[in-house]
C-alpha cells in the first residue's frame, strides 16, 4: 500500500499537467513578434486576443459592444467622451487596470494604427479622471470613436500595463503581461515550436454571451497550446491522428478529405478575405490612371478564384471594394470594370498610348493561398495587350520587394497580389488599398487629395446614411483613379476534432469559449 501511495505521489509530482484540459492548436503561422501594436501579423493579433483585453469588442453583427468598459457617455457636441472601466479588472501580475494604463496603451497604439492615427489627430487630449474613469476630449467631432476603440482587426487597441505601454511604438515589447483571459507562459515558450497559454483564473468575463470579439470571454480549458506545424500535410495528419485538436488554416486541397472524415468538423467561416491586385502608381505603365483603368476592364474575378480556391463554396464574387455582405458593400463605380472585356481593354490601352513597358508582376510561390493568382493576372493582362514579366519569389522576398519605390526595371515592381481580411477593407478609412496619402500609403503609393478628403468625410459623417453615401463616393473615386482591383473573396474554414465545441464564428481567431468533451 505504501508503495502504491509513493508511486501515485511520484506520478503527480512528475506530471504537473495531469488531469488538465488542454486544447492543441496549429496556428496559421509561427508566433515571432509578441507585440500586437508593433506588427499587423495575424498570428500576433491572435496572440493579442489570448493575452490582452480591449475596451470595446465588435459582435458577430458588426456592432461595437463594451468589453473592459462598464459605461460611457458623450456630450451633446460629441466632443467629450467619458468612459468608466468595469470593476475588478486586473493584469496578470496582480495589478489593477487603471485609466493611466488605458491612456498609455491607446497612445502607443495610435502611433501605429491608421484609424488610431486619425483619432489621435482629432483628439485634444486624453485625461484620467480617477482610477477607473478617463476622458477623451476632441478638437472636433470624430464619427468613429467607438469603432476605433472596438476595432477587431490589426492593429487592435489592446490594453497593456502603463509600465509596458511606455515602450516606444517602434520597439517591440517583450513582457506579455496583459489582462486577458489567458496568461502567456513564457517559461514554456519554444519559439518556432510551441506556445503555451494558461487560463487566467482571475479573469472576470462579462455576463453577456460571447459574440465576435465581444461578450463574455469564458475559458473552459486549463491550457491552450499552439503547436507550430509548418507543413500543411503534417497539420492535417496530426489532426486526423488526434495529436492536435484544431487547424486554423488547412490548405484548400485538404477540405474534401477533411469533410469526409467522421472525426473532423470543418467550420465554415462567414467572414471572407478579399483578393486584392495592387498597382504601383509611381512608375510606368501604371503611373497613368487610364492604363490602370484599362487593366481593370481586362480583369475578370471568377478565373482567379476558380484557379486558386477551386471549390465554389470556398469563394464568392462581389463587385465592391468593401468586404462582401458588410454595410458599405456597393457596386458604385464598378460599371464596365472587372468583366474581362478584352476588346475594350485593348482599345483603352491604345487610346492611353501604352508603349509596351513591361508589367512586372510579383509571384509568391510559397504562399499556398495566393500563389496561383499572379499567373491568372499575367494571362488576362497579356490577352489585353500588356507585356508581362512574371517574377517568382518567396512571400517574404515579395514583402521586401514591394516596399521598394525603384522603377520596375531597377528592382521595383508594377503589380503584387495579396488577400486582406474583410475587416481591413470594411470601409474607406480602414481600407489599406484605398489609402491615397502618397508616401504614407500602403505600397503602390496612390496620391489623390480627392479620395483622402472623402475618407476624412467618412469619419465626420453624422449619420449611417451619410456614411454610406460617402463610402460609395469614395469607392467611385478609387475606381476612377484605379487604386487597386478587388477580385472577390475566399473563405478559410477552420478544422477541429469533433469533440471540440464552442468555436466562435468571428472575423478573427479567438479561443475563449472552446471546450473539449
Amino acid at each position: 500500500m505504501r508503495r502504491v501511495v509513493a508511486v501515485l505521489a511520484l506520478a503527480i509530482a512528475a506530471g504537473g499537467a495531469w488531469g488538465q484540459k488542454t486544447i492543441r492548436i496549429a496556428p496559421q503561422s509561427n508566433l515571432a513578434v509578441l507585440d500586437p501594436h508593433f506588427t499587423t501579423a495575424t498570428v500576433t493579433r491572435t496572440h493579442g486576443y489570448m493575452v490582452y483585453d480591449t475596451l470595446f469588442g465588435t459582435d458577430a453583427n458588426s456592432r461595437v459592444q463594451p468589453q473592459m468598459v462598464d459605461k460611457w457617455a458623450v456630450t451633446g457636441d460629441r466632443r467629450t467622451w467619458t468612459f468608466t472601466l468595469r470593476e475588478g479588472l486586473e493584469f496578470h501580475d496582480g495589478q489593477p487596470v487603471t485609466s493611466e494604463d488605458v491612456i498609455a496603451s491607446l497612445e502607443r497604439w495610435s502611433k501605429k494604427d491608421s484609424l488610431g492615427q486619425r483619432l489621435a489627430a482629432a483628439a485634444e487630449r486624453w485625461e484620467a479622471v480617477d482610477a477607473r474613469t478617463f476622458r477623451l476630449v476632441l478638437r472636433e467631432p470624430f464619427g468613429m470613436v467607438l469603432e476605433a476603440l472596438g476595432k477587431p482587426g490589426a492593429n487592435v487597441p489592446f490594453i497593456l500595463p502603463k509600465r509596458i505601454a511606455a515602450t516606444s511604438a517602434d520597439k517591440q515589447i517583450e513582457d506579455p503581461t496583459g489582462s486577458g483571459p489567458y496568461i502567456f507562459k513564457r517559461d514554456e515558450w519554444k519559439p518556432g515550436s510551441l506556445v503555451v497559454y494558461a487560463k487566467n483564473p482571475k479573469y472576470r468575463p462579462r455576463a453577456e454571451p460571447p459574440s465576435g470579439t465581444a461578450g463574455g470571454k469564458r475559458v473552459f480549458v486549463d491550457r491552450v497550446e499552439w503547436q507550430i506545424l509548418r507543413d500543411a500535410q503534417t497539420q492535417v495528419n496530426a489532426l486526423v491522428a488526434g495529436e492536435i485538436d484544431l487547424v486554423e488554416q488547412p490548405a484548400h486541397e485538404h477540405y474534401p478529405a477533411l469533410r469526409r472524415n467522421p472525426d473532423i468538423v470543418v467550420h465554415d467561416n462567414k467572414a471572407g478575405a478579399q483578393v486584392v491586385l495592387r498597382f504601383n502608381h509611381l512608375h510606368p505603365p501604371f503611373n497613368d490612371a487610364r492604363i490602370r483603368r484599362a487593366a481593370l476592364v481586362a480583369l475578370s474575378p471568377e478565373p482567379f478564384l476558380k484557379a486558386q480556391y477551386v471549390s465554389p463554396d470556398l469563394y464568392r464574387v462581389c463587385a465592391s471594394l468593401y468586404a462582401c455582405g458588410t454595410p458599405y458593400e456597393t457596386r458604385g463605380g464598378m460599371e464596365g470594370l472587372l468583366r474581362g472585356d478584352i476588346r475594350r481593354a485593348r482599345a483603352l490601352l491604345k487610346e492611353a498610348g501604352y508603349d509596351g513597358t513591361p508589367v512586372v508582376i510579383l509571384q509568391p510561390t510559397d504562399l499556398a493561398t495566393i500563389a496561383k493568382l499572379p499567373t491568372v493576372a499575367a494571362q488576362q493582362l497579356r490577352q489585353a495587350g500588356f507585356k508581362v514579366d512574371l517574377q517568382s519569389m518567396d512571400w517574404n522576398a515579395l514583402l521586401s520587394r514591394r516596399a521598394k519605390k525603384d522603377p520596375p526595371s531597377k528592382g521595383g515592381w508594377s503589380i503584387f497580389m495579396t488577400t486582406l481580411n474583410g475587416l481591413d477593407v470594411a470601409n474607406p478609412v480602414v481600407s489599406l488599398p484605398m489609402n491615397a496619402s502618397c508616401d504614407k500609403a500602403w505600397p503602390g503609393w496612390p496620391c489623390d487629395p480627392v479620395l483622402e478628403k472623402l475618407r476624412l468625410d467618412f469619419l465626420h459623417a453624422a449619420t449611417e446614411q451619410d456614411r454610406k453615401k460617402v463610402a460609395e463616393a469614395a469607392q467611385r473615386r478609387a475606381l476612377e483613379i484605379g487604386t487597386h482591383a478587388a477580385l472577390g473573396e475566399y473563405f478559410q474554414p477552420v478544422a477541429t476534432r469533433k469533440n471540440i465545441t464552442g468555436l466562435l464564428d468571428a472575423p478573427v481567431y479567438v479561443y475563449w469559449n472552446l471546450d473539449k468533451k
Binding site: T40, D170, K171, G192, T234, V240, K405, L420
Partner: protein, 313 residues
C-alpha cells in the same frame, strides 16, 4: 598525433572565417528585408524604415560586419531579429532534437547498411546483391519528404503504431523519446543506408579478392570470420570516410525531415530563419554546421589510425 590534431584544429579557424564572411555577404546580397517581414502585411514604407533602423540594418555593410565580427570574437552570435532571443540560446534549445535525430539515424544506417553491404559483396551477383543495388537506386531517388509521407500514412495513420509528428525530450522518458524518433530516423536513414551499403559492398568486394582472404579461407576459418575479421576490417577506411562525408547529407536531410515531422531542431530553425531573413540566426547556424563538418572530418581522419595501424600522423 597531438601536433596533427592541433594543426587540424588551427586550420578550422580560417575555414570558419571564410564561411563567416561568405555567409554574411551572401545574406546581404540576396533579396529580402527582415524589417518588412517583421512589420507585417499592412505596414507602410515609413514603418518598415523605422524597424530597419532599430535592427541596425540602415548602417553600411562594412559597419554591420565590423559590429558582428566584434560580437563573434567575444563569443556572442548576436540576437535573433525574429525570435528576439540570443542566437546561442536558440541553438541551445534546438540542438538536442537534431543531435538525437542524427545519432539514431546514423546508428540505424550503420547497423543496417554495413551488414547488407558485406552480404551483397559476399553473394556478388546473386539476388541479395541485385536487391541491394535496386534498393540503393530507390534510396537515392525517392525524395525524403515523399518517403516521410508514405511512412506516416502507413505506420501512423493506418496502423496507429507511432505518432505523426513532434518530439519528446529524453528527459521526459526514453520510450516516448524513441517513439517520436523512429519514423523520422528511418526516413532520414534510407538515403544514408543506400550510400553506406554501396560503398561497403564495393570496399568489401575489393578486399575479398586479396591474397590474405584466400589464406584465411585456406586456414579453414569460417566464412563469417573471414568476412568480419578480415574483409570488413580491411575495408573499414573507405566506409568510415563515407560515413563522415555523409554528415553533410544528413544536415540537408535534417532540414526536410524536421519540417515534415515537426521536430523543433536546428533544421527547422534554419528554414524559419531563412524564410524570415533572420541574419544573425542563419549566420550562427551555418557556422555551427561548418564547425561540425570540419570536426567530423577530423574525427574520421583520426579513426583511420584505429582501423589501419599503418597510418601514422
Amino acid at each position: 598525433m597531438l601536433p596533427f590534431i592541433a594543426r587540424r584544429l588551427a586550420a578550422t579557424i580560417p575555414v570558419l572565417a571564410i564561411v563567416a564572411v561568405l555567409v554574411f555577404l551572401l545574406l546581404r546580397l540576396t533579396p529580402g528585408d527582415p524589417a518588412a517581414i517583421l512589420a507585417g502585411d499592412a505596414a507602410n514604407v515609413e514603418q518598415i524604415a523605422k524597424i530597419r533602423a532599430g535592427l541596425g540594418l540602415d548602417r553600411s555593410i562594412p559597419v554591420q560586419f565590423a559590429i558582428w565580427l566584434g560580437q563573434m570574437l567575444s563569443g556572442d552570435l548576436g540576437e535573433s531579429f525574429y525570435f528576439k532571443m540570443k542566437v546561442t540560446d536558440l541553438i541551445g534549445q534546438r540542438i538536442e532534437p537534431t543531435l538525437a535525430l542524427a545519432a539514431v539515424t546514423i546508428v540505424i544506417a550503420v547497423l543496417v547498411a554495413v551488414p547488407l553491404g558485406v552480404l551483397a559483396a559476399w553473394r556478388f551477383g546473386g539476388w541479395l546483391d541485385r536487391a541491394l543495388m535496386g534498393f540503393s537506386v530507390l534510396g537515392f531517388s525517392v525524395p525524403v519528404f515523399v518517403l516521410a509521407y508514405i511512412l506516416i500514412w502507413v505506420v501512423s495513420l493506418k496502423l496507429g503504431w507511432l505518432p505523426v509528428q513532434g518530439y519528446r525530450r529524453i528527459a521526459d522518458g526514453f520510450l516516448p523519446f524513441l517513439r517520436h524518433l523512429i519514423l523520422p530516423s528511418i526516413t532520414l536513414s534510407v538515403i544514408y543506408i543506400a550510400l553506406i551499403a554501396r560503398v561497403t559492398r564495393a570496399a568489401v568486394l575489393d578486399t575479398l579478392g586479396e591474397d590474405y582472404i584466400r589464406t584465411a579461407r585456406a586456414k579453414g576459418l569460417s566464412e563469417s570470420r573471414v568476412l568480419v575479421r578480415h574483409a570488413l576490417a580491411n575495408a573499414a577506411v573507405p566506409i568510415a570516410t563515407v560515413i563522415g562525408l555523409g554528415i553533410a547529407l544528413l544536415i540537408g536531410g535534417v532540414v526536410v525531415t524536421e519540417s515534415v515531422y515537426a521536430i523543433p531542431g536546428l533544421g527547422r530553425l534554419t528554414v524559419d530563419a531563412v524564410l524570415a531573413r533572420d541574419f544573425p540566426t542563419i549566420q550562427g547556424v551555418i557556422l555551427l554546421f561548418s564547425f561540425t563538418y570540419v570536426l567530423v572530418n577530423l574525427l574520421v581522419d583520426l579513426s583511420y589510425v584505429f582501423f589501419d595501424p599503418r597510418i601514422r600522423y
